[in-house]
């Protein structure tokens, strides 16, 4: 019998999401942080560990009035917050701090900020962006035609990713896009970067989110239902140059991160009740399902198109509507974590009945990085 050692005791998103022109990016971090503190009955001076990605962790500490004994500013893109959950858990286990606040805020739409969230890559600039793929829709999508040819992934299957996730978004009052869509709607939406059309691409939003972690032992003293981490999660890097991906049909970082998380948790795929896979674009859930091992190589598109991930399906996936329909600030990973926490607390508007085990997997920096964590309602297994 293993006992849980770390729990998420506080979780909240920013008060408003989507268009939040009245707040700066730093202000979005703080708004979400204060909401998470309120959620679990803490004050800023109860926090001794602070972590954030894509933003200076020192500014967040000072803005919130926190003097930490541990901090982490790992910034590898949208999965940074998933990475930071496992880093924070390791720090708490090691005794470096007792109570960690992880914050995210991003003024992706209103652009009330003075920096971009990810470090520029020297070689990406010198050898890739000079050819025009400056922004995610024309860069993150580059491998997909190869995968379509090699693995039989179809445009209709990619469109179904967006259709199914919109079904989930309909449950969520806070989701940006909730009206039902069809495959035809997706395939006739505005062309962005062939073969990707607008409805296969994420939203561009303002928002924030924050999590508070502590030891499982202390978690019992909090008013919230603890959400436990199972195992140590996983993370990996393939790198910022999209052309240098070993395979265009599979992400090495996904495979390494996912395997580490599953091995550490000691779980099988059949045990997973709920799954979040960061979806900046419609192809990512397909790569995620395959690279995490839920389906075989080349089977991810058909699995989604057959309805297995939709409401009522055997593997509920991206139950908030994902980056395609819920919100996407730029570094969406925090919102995948928030939905998994809601599911484990049993309070998601798109609640999966009886869900006890959730896997959260994210991508960062356009196939550059990946991270995976496993959450559970159970304090032992």
């Amino acid at each position: 019998m293993s006992r849980a050692s770390i729990a998420i005791v506080g979780a909240a998103e920013s008060t408003r999401m989507g268009k939040v022109p009245e707040l700066s990016q730093t202000g979005l971090h703080a708004d979400a942080a204060l909401n998470a503190l309120t959620d679990c009955g803490l004050r800023p001076d109860d926090i001794d560990g602070v972590a954030t990605g894509g933003h200076d962790v020192a500014e967040i500490c000072q803005y919130l009035g926190i003097t930490p004994t541990w901090y982490d500013g790992t910034s590898v893109g949208g999965c940074s917050f998933i990475t930071l959950v496992r880093h924070a858990a390791a720090a708490i286990r090691q005794g470096l701090c007792t109570t960690v606040l992880i914050t995210h805020g991003e003024s992706g739409r209103s652009n009330n900020r003075n920096h971009r969230p990810i470090f520029p890559s020297m070689q990406q600039q010198e050898f890739e962006s000079i050819y025009g793929p400056l922004i995610p829709p024309s860069r993150f999508t580059l491998p997909v035609l190869r995968k379509m040819k090699d693995d039989g992934l179809t445009l209709e299957q990619l469109a179904m990713v967006a259709v199914v996730q919109r079904e989930w978004a309909a449950y969520h009052p806070r989701a940006t896009a909730r009206d039902p869509i069809t495959v035809d709607d997706v395939l006739s939406s505005k062309m962005i970067a062939w073969p990707f059309r607008k409805l296969m691409c994420c939203l561009v939003s303002d928002g924030g989110g924050a999590l508070i972690l502590t030891s499982a032992e202390r978690a019992r003293d909090f008013p919230t239902k603890p959400v436990y981490l199972r195992g140590a999660g996983g993370e990996s890097i393939e790198g910022p140059m999209i052309s240098q991906m070993e395979s265009f049909s599979s992400s090495k970082a996904f495979r390494v991160s996912g395997k580490a998380a599953f091995d550490s948790a000691g779980i099988s795929h059949a045990e997973v009740d709920h799954l979040m896979i960061y979806d900046a674009f419609a192809h990512l859930p397909v790569y995620g399902l395959e690279d995490l091992g839920f389906v075989g190589r080349g089977e991810g598109g058909a699995f989604i198109a057959e309805g297995h991930t939709r409401p009522g399906g055997k593997l509920p996936l991206n139950t908030n509507g994902g980056g395609l329909s819920y919100m996407h600030s730029g570094m969406y990973g925090m919102y995948a974590l928030q939905e998994a926490v809601r599911q484990m607390r049993g309070v998601s508007p798109g609640q999966v009945e009886g869900a006890k085990l959730s896997v959260v997997h994210g991508v960062g920096g356009m196939f550059s990085a990946a991270a995976t964590v496993v959450m559970t309602t159970e304090d032992g297994w």
Binding site: M122, Q125, F127, I130, G132, K190, A193
Partner: protein, 135 residues
């Protein structure tokens, strides 16, 4: 503002851009691994050896993957093709597909490509077009 981006050239990559200016596509290669690699750096990313050489690529490759971008980019008139070419030497690199309309029917995966060169001010940038001089 309407100019295509100029690469920021670093000491370790100077040879690549000097080669391009002479109409040659130069790659680093590791004799121990018998393998070319990209982008350039003064050691082999497979074995770590600093004993690496510069080779001239044949300039032939195949269309590995692409998108047709309808988004603005400095100096580009959408739609334009952003592609990955796999060279005969095995390495993959980003390129545009020039001398070919940006239409899916004309851009067939695995079609043969050949290197050509584009001037951007003082810098020459390798580009690829359909083999045989384009359409």
């Amino acid at each position: 503002m309407n100019q295509r981006q100029i690469p920021t050239i670093h000491p370790e990559t100077r040879f690549y851009w000097d080669g391009a200016r002479q109409g040659r596509l130069l790659l680093n290669s590791c004799p121990a691994c018998d393998k070319a690699y990209f982008p350039p750096r003064p050691f082999c990313p497979t074995c770590g050896s600093r004993d690496v050489t510069v080779i001239e690529a044949s300039g032939k490759g195949r269309l590995y993957s692409y998108v047709i971008s309808h988004l603005p980019a400095p100096g580009y008139e959408p739609p334009f093709t952003v592609a990955v070419v796999q060279l005969e030497e095995g390495v993959k690199m980003v390129t545009n597909i020039v001398d070919c309309p940006a239409e899916p029917e004309l851009l067939v995966l695995d079609m043969a490509l050949e290197v050509t060169f584009e001037s951007r001010g003082d810098v020459t940038v390798p580009q690829f077009r359909p083999a045989g001089g384009g359409t």
